[in-house]
């Protein structure tokens, strides 16, 4: 009886397991193997650390890593703060709330590639919207994507614009589950708006914040579609991010072995981040 239930359970798991093994586990193992046994597009007979040694010598990689962490360190908190602010706003009772919610959510619906094509023209120095606005106040304009000290921040601005609306939806849903009695009680105590937010709303949003944080951090490393259109990592790698650099190595340089080593690096970063998030932050999350 027991064993037949076991078989039954495994059979139910089988379809998902097949997909996971074929498209997740097997590629991961093969990537790790390639990073040790590969050279260029070929397989070598014996394992070597050459690809990993090159990681340490690669100046571009150092810059790419710095860019990636800076990108995550800015886009993640800013998108979350914006998402909470927007959710609080569109959650209040006001006229035109539906339209506002739709407006905030629109960027999320659009595909990243088409968005990037639109922003390419916003950012264009001579004909772009942004510099035309600056021109109105007599400013000479900024080379948004062409100036190495600005390009990465231009990408961040677009990412935040794109992501914040998506996270807003989760916060909006969470806000609507908060018991209104808590707010009534706070009103009787004559608590200030800030105290209400700090003591009631924000703590009760923490589970959502954890979820959004995990997603935002993963996206910060995984989402590079816009680089293909906007900067191709330029100028001089100023806006190059780790996943795009992996793509360049694998498909522009055909150095799949080095790309595999880079992928292992990316995987390790993501695993460490996930452990930190679930191990440290989850302890402080208040679940009801």
């Amino acid at each position: 009886m027991r064993s037949s239930r076991q078989i039954h359970a495994w059979l139910l798991l089988l379809p998902a397991l097949c997909l996971l093994v074929a498209f997740t586990h097997y590629p991961v193992i093969k990537t790790i193997a390639r990073s040790f046994f590969g050279f260029g597009t070929r397989w070598e007979g014996k394992a070597s650390l050459d690809n990993y040694r090159f990681l340490l010598e690669d100046d571009v990689l150092m810059q790419v890593l710095f860019n990636s962490f800076l990108y995550a360190a800015i886009t993640v908190p800013v998108s979350i703060i914006l998402a909470i602010a927007m959710a609080l706003w569109v959650n209040s009772k006001m006229v035109g709330r539906g339209i506002l919610r739709t407006a905030y959510f629109t960027p999320t619906v659009l595909p990243m590639i088409s968005v990037a094509n639109i922003w390419l023209f916003f950012y264009s120095p001579e004909i772009g919207l942004l510099n035309k606005l600056l021109g109105l106040v007599g400013h000479g304009g900024i080379n948004w994507l062409g100036d190495p000290s600005v390009a990465l921040y231009s990408l961040m601005a677009m990412t935040i614009w794109k992501e914040a609306g998506f996270f807003m939806i989760f916060y909006l849903a969470a806000l609507q589950t908060i018991d209104s009695n808590l707010y009534h009680a706070a009103a009787i105590e004559n608590a200030s708006k800030w105290t209400v937010f700090k003591r009631i709303t924000f703590p009760l949003l923490m589970p959502t914040t954890l979820f959004v944080l995990v997603n935002a951090l993963l996206n910060a490393f995984k989402l590079v579609d816009h680089l293909f259109i906007l900067t191709k990592g330029g100028p001089n790698n100023a806006s190059n991010l780790l996943l795009y650099y992996i793509f360049e190595n694998a498909f522009s340089f055909f150095d799949t072995a080095y790309a595999a080593a880079l992928t292992v690096l990316l995987l390790s970063i993501l695993v460490v981040l996930a452990l930190v998030q679930f191990g440290v932050i989850e302890k402080r999350v208040h679940y009801r």
Partner: protein, 427 residues
Amino acid sequence: MWLNALKRTAAAAAIFAVTAPALAETELTMFYPVAVGGALTKIVDGIVADFETANPDIDVNAIYAGNYNDARVKALAALQSGDPAQLSVMFSIDVHELMDLDAIVPFDDVVTSDEEKQWLDSFYPALMENGKVDGKTYGVPFQRSTIVMYYNKDMFREAGLDPEKPPTSWEELAEVGAALTKKNADGNVETWGAMIPSTGYQYWMFGALTKQQGRVLMNQEGNETYFNDPKVVDALNFWKDLGSKHAVMPEGIIEWGTLRQNFLEEKTAIMWHSTGNLTTVKNNATFDFGVAMLPAGSELGSPTGGGNFYIFKDATEEERAASLKLIRFMTSPEQAEKWSIETGYMGVSPAAYDTPELAEYVKTFPPAAIARDQLQHATAELSTHQAGRVRKLLDDAIQSVLSGQSTAEEALDSAQKQAERILSRYK
């Protein structure tokens, strides 16, 4: 029951016998890229449809595969996964890498008859440079270009310049550019004299400036580069000076993708761009424009650019023959003429310009002949082993100089050193 099955088998066999000739048809899969705007995919699909009508026994599956990089990735991915692909249009400069991957066959092994051999010799020699390695032809020119100078004649007139006299030397480019650069009351530039794009294909633009200094960037074997030659350094300094010293071009990086729009909106009086843009500019310009050869440094010059046909090694004898037939059709003077008029890309052989249509077109629209006339001053585009990596070294060096992060000497020295390290394995 059993008899029934037998009958059915017999019927199936009979049907098979009737339809067998149709099954013998050769199926070809071809990937092709588009690197400039416009409805180029429709034009390619049209030519392919014409070919299929003329050759009912060959079935061509032409797949648009994005830009040059994407096309190469897709074609090679198809080959590696065992999907059939017999021929592709790919970047003319991919030749060394495709050979290193053992993916392509030389055309010398595919052509058999004297007529076919003659055909292989019928193209402009400058367009064959990127396709020839060790005396064998691996790439046949199709969508080929040079860089040309587009200029806005109306803006020339407004600035009191002769619209029929575009700048012909670097000095004139700086002078004319200065006259064309207009500032508003705040002292901010409203329209620029000239723009040379520095994203996407900056090594290509740079190839023009170095050729104009009488230098090439690499050897024919693709295992040596000359990035830090003093004249090459001069060329990069001149590019930077156009922005920083002469102030006729915006300082910093200029986007390849939006440059044509800048020109069409009259934000720049001159742009350097692929001749593949010609027809789109012609159809969209609301002003009088001209096209000229690039100005000369110590000499005239531009690299050739664009895509070549390649035949893959995996193709069977029969498929290779059919591929050759398709390539001959698409590069024939009649098709090259149509292709050139509809896109602005060059007719790839002198015979194309002898067709009545193209001869007439060039007469009524002289800019269409500039790219061809410039061919005699052209050189091969940067093409080496490990082309992607080496190209990125030069691309990054150019951008670091134009954006003021390092000097031309430093950046090119460093690029050269790294290129030498990469290429040392191919000597």
